[in-house]
C-alpha cells in the first residue's frame, strides 16, 4: 500500500502508511513523527501516532493543507525506519489469582496452564504502538501467538487501575478505573498516568516494555511506595 496523505477537515492531515497492525508500519509512522516534531513546522500543533498512520494537527490560520502536505511529503523521503534511541521499561506485574481475575479463564481457553500464560506474557519485549482510548492507555504488541484471544463477550463495567490485560495481539495496562473488555491477567503496582508529571503518561509511542513477574509481598510493598510517590520506574536506553 502506498503512502497517502488525507485531509481530516481543515485542522488535521493523516499520513497513512497502511491499513493493518504491523511493526514495520509502526516504525515508519514513528520515524516520520520524529522528523515532523523536530522540524518545528509553523502551524503544526501536535502529532499523534497510531498503528498505521500519523495524524498531524495544525492551525489552518497559520498553515494551509496544500503547503503542509508538501512539507510532510518532503519529510517522508528518508524517514524509512526508526533510528532513535528507544526507552525500555521493566514493569513489575503480580500474576497471582486475586490480582488476575481472568488468568484461569485465559489458561483454559488457550489450553495452556496459568504458569505458561504468565511465562509467555513475560517472555517477550513489547512495542508501544500508540497511546489512546483513555489518557495513558498503551497499546503494546505483539502478544505471543498462543495467547491471542478475542475480547471478552461481556465487558466489565469497572476494571481496576493497574490491571494488565490482553486481547487479540495486544497487551495493555489500564491507567485508571474504567469499563473494559480485555482479559485481566495481572496487576502492576506502578502508576502509569499522572497529570502532575510531565509528560503525564509513563509510556510514549515507540517505547519498549517488558513485564517482570513479582509475588504478592513485592506487589504490596511497591504499591505502598507508589502511593507515597517514592516509586516511579526509570527506563533504560535501547540503542539501535
Amino acid at each position: 500500500m502506498s503512502i497517502r496523505v488525507l485531509n481530516s477537515g481543515d485542522t488535521a492531515l493523516v499520513v497513512e502508511f497502511g491499513d493493518r497492525i504491523d511493526r514495520a508500519i509502526s516504525d515508519r509512522v514513528l520515524a516520520l513523527r520524529g522528523r515532523v516534531d523536530a522540524a518545528r513546522i509553523p502551524g503544526v500543533v501536535e502529532t499523534v501516532p497510531t498503528f498505521r498512520s500519523l495524524m498531524v494537527h495544525y492551525d489552518p490560520l497559520t498553515v494551509r493543507a496544500a503547503e503542509l502536505t508538501g512539507t510532510l511529503k518532503t519529510l517522508l523521503e528518508g524517514a524509512k525506519a526508526l533510528d532513535r534511541v528507544r526507552r525500555l521499561w521493566r514493569v513489575p506485574v503480580c500474576y497471582e489469582a486475586e490480582l488476575a481475575p481472568d488468568l484461569a479463564d485465559v489458561a483454559a481457553r488457550t489450553r495452556l496452564g496459568p504458569d505458561e500464560v504468565v511465562r509467555l506474557h513475560s517472555s517477550v519485549r513489547y512495542h508501544v504502538y500508540m497511546v489512546g482510548f483513555l489518557p495513558g492507555y498503551p497499546y503494546m504488541g505483539d502478544l505471543p501467538a498462543p495467547l491471542r484471544l478475542p475480547r471478552r463477550a461481556d465487558p466489565r463495567v469497572r476494571v481496576p487501575p493497574g490491571s494488565v490485560a490482553i486481547a487479540t495481539a495486544m497487551t495493555a495496562i489500564y491507567p485508571v478505573e474504567c469499563p473494559g473488555g480485555w482479559h485481566l491477567i495481572g496487576t502492576t503496582p506502578i502508576g502509569i498516568f499522572d497529570t502532575a508529571t510531565e509528560p503525564p503518561a509513563l509510556f510514549a509511542p515507540g517505547d519498549a516494555v517488558e513485564f517482570e513477574p513479582i509475588d504478592r509481598a513485592t506487589f504490596d510493598r511497591l504499591q505502598v511506595r507508589t502511593a507515597h510517590g517514592e516509586h516511579r520506574p526509570l527506563p533504560s536506553e535501547l540503542v539501535p
Binding site: N7, D10, D19, H57, P60, P135
Partner: protein, 343 residues
C-alpha cells in the same frame, strides 16, 4: 480567604473551559476546551480579559451563583443567555454584556437558546492549569474545578478581590446561534469505506441531534449511513468535528472531549469555521450538511475569523446615551451597587 463565586445551584453541566489542552493527544489526552470558541472569546472581550481566559461553560441550563467578595465583574455571551439578579431587586439584566455585582448578590444565568453559553470573570478564576490548560476533562477527572462539573456548595476562587473601576461593556446586535444553518464539512478521511448512497444521504438528508449528546459528541438520528465493507478499521487519529460511523450506521459528530484515536471510519469532518455552530446544537435540533473542498474550508475559516474580529470590534461601553434604554440604564446603575440596593 480570597474572594469567590459560590455555587448555589450548578446548572446541568457547568465546567471551566478555555481554548483547550494541546500537545498531549499522543498520550491519549483529549483537547477539551470550549464547545463554542466564538462565544468564549466574546465573553472574555466583554470582561476585558485575554481571549483564552478560562470561563464557565454552561450546558443547556445556567447556574445560580452568589458573590462572596467585595465586587466582581462578570460577562456573559451566548444566544438567549441572560443574567437574572435574584432577591428583592429581582431583575433581568440581559446578556452579551458585562456587569459588576456586589458582595452578597445572587444571580442566575437563564434563557439559554443554544446548547452552551459562557460566563467569565474579569481577572479570571484562580484555578491552576493542568497540563497547560484550565479546561475540565470530566471523564478523565482532571482540569478545571477538581476535574468535574460544578456542584452546589463549590466556592470558585477569583483572581481579583474587587472589580476594576470602569464602565461596563456590551455587544450590540449579537449574532443568532445559527441553529438553522447547514454545517459544512470536508469529506474523509475514510469516505472510501462508505457506499456511494451513504455519501448522498449524508449531504441531502436531515438529521436530528439525539438525546445522546454531551461534550464528547452528538449522536445523530436520521437515515443510516451504510458502510461499503467492514465497519471496523485499524485505529487512527481523530480530529474534532469528525463524523464517525459505527456498525449501526448512525453517525456520531465528535466534539471537544472526543477520544484521541478510534476504530470507526470517519465519513467526513466538519470544517473548523462551523465547529461553534455544531457546539450550539441541542438534542432535538436539526442538522443538515454541505460538502466543501479543503481550499474553500480554509477560506471560510479566515472569513469566520474576520467576522469574529469585526464583531469583537463592536463591543462598546454600555451607556445611557442617545436612545434611552431603561433596562440597561437600571442595570448599569445597579451594578455599581449604589443607586438602588444599598440602604
Amino acid at each position: 480567604m480570597s474572594g469567590a463565586l459560590v455555587v448555589l445551584a450548578p446548572g446541568l453541566h457547568t465546567t471551566i473551559q478555555d481554548r483547550g489542552r494541546f500537545g498531549y493527544q499522543a498520550f491519549g489526552v483529549p483537547v477539551s476546551g470550549a464547545l463554542d470558541a466564538e462565544c468564549l472569546e466574546i465573553a472574555n472581550r466583554l470582561a476585558g480579559n485575554a481571549p483564552e481566559t478560562p470561563a464557565l461553560e454552561m450546558l443547556y441550563q445556567g447556574p445560580t451563583l452568589e458573590v462572596e467578595t467585595d465586587s466582581v465583574r462578570v460577562a456573559i455571551a451566548g444566544a438567549g443567555a441572560e443574567i437574572e439578579l435574584l432577591g428583592a431587586s429581582n431583575r433581568r439584566l440581559g446578556g452579551w454584556r458585562s456587569i459588576t455585582l456586589a458582595r452578597g448578590e445572587r444571580f442566575r444565568v437563564q434563557g439559554l437558546a443554544a446548547a452552551c453559553a459562557y460566563l467569565t470573570v474579569s481577572g479570571g478564576m484562580a484555578v491552576a492549569p493542568v497540563l497547560g490548560s484550565a479546561s475540565t476533562f470530566a471523564r478523565g477527572g482532571f482540569g478545571g474545578w477538581h476535574g468535574r462539573a460544578l456542584q452546589a456548595g463549590d466556592r470558585l476562587p477569583l483572581g481579583r478581590d474587587s472589580a476594576e473601576e470602569r464602565g461596563e461593556l456590551a455587544l450590540p446586535d449579537p449574532p443568532g446561534p445559527g441553529l438553522d444553518r447547514p454545517i459544512r464539512l470536508v469529506l474523509g478521511p475514510q469516505q472510501d469505506h462508505f457506499a456511494e448512497a451513504a455519501l448522498d444521504t449524508l449531504l441531502t438528508a436531515e438529521f436530528t441531534v439525539s438525546q445522546q449528546a454531551d461534550r464528547m459528541g452528538l449522536r445523530l438520528d436520521g437515515p443510516t449511513l451504510p458502510h461499503r465493507g467492514d465497519y471496523n478499521i485499524v485505529s487512527d487519529g481523530i480530529a474534532t468535528g469528525a463524523i464517525q460511523v459505527p456498525g449501526s450506521g448512525q453517525p456520531i459528530l465528535l466534539l471537544a472531549d472526543h477520544q484521541t484515536t478510534g476504530g470507526y471510519p470517519k465519513i467526513a469532518t466538519v470544517i473548523s469555521a462551523d465547529l461553534p455552530l455544531v457546539g450550539r446544537r441541542r438534542p432535538g435540533d436539526r442538522v443538515r450538511f454541505a460538502a466543501v473542498g479543503i481550499a474553500e474550508a480554509e477560506r471560510l475559516r479566515r472569513a469566520e475569523r474576520a467576522a469574529l474580529d469585526a464583531l469583537l470590534a463592536k463591543v462598546t461601553p454600555l451607556r445611557a446615551e442617545g436612545r434611552l434604554d431603561l433596562d440597561r440604564l437600571f442595570g448599569a446603575n445597579l451594578i455599581s451597587g449604589v443607586v438602588f440596593d444599598n440602604p
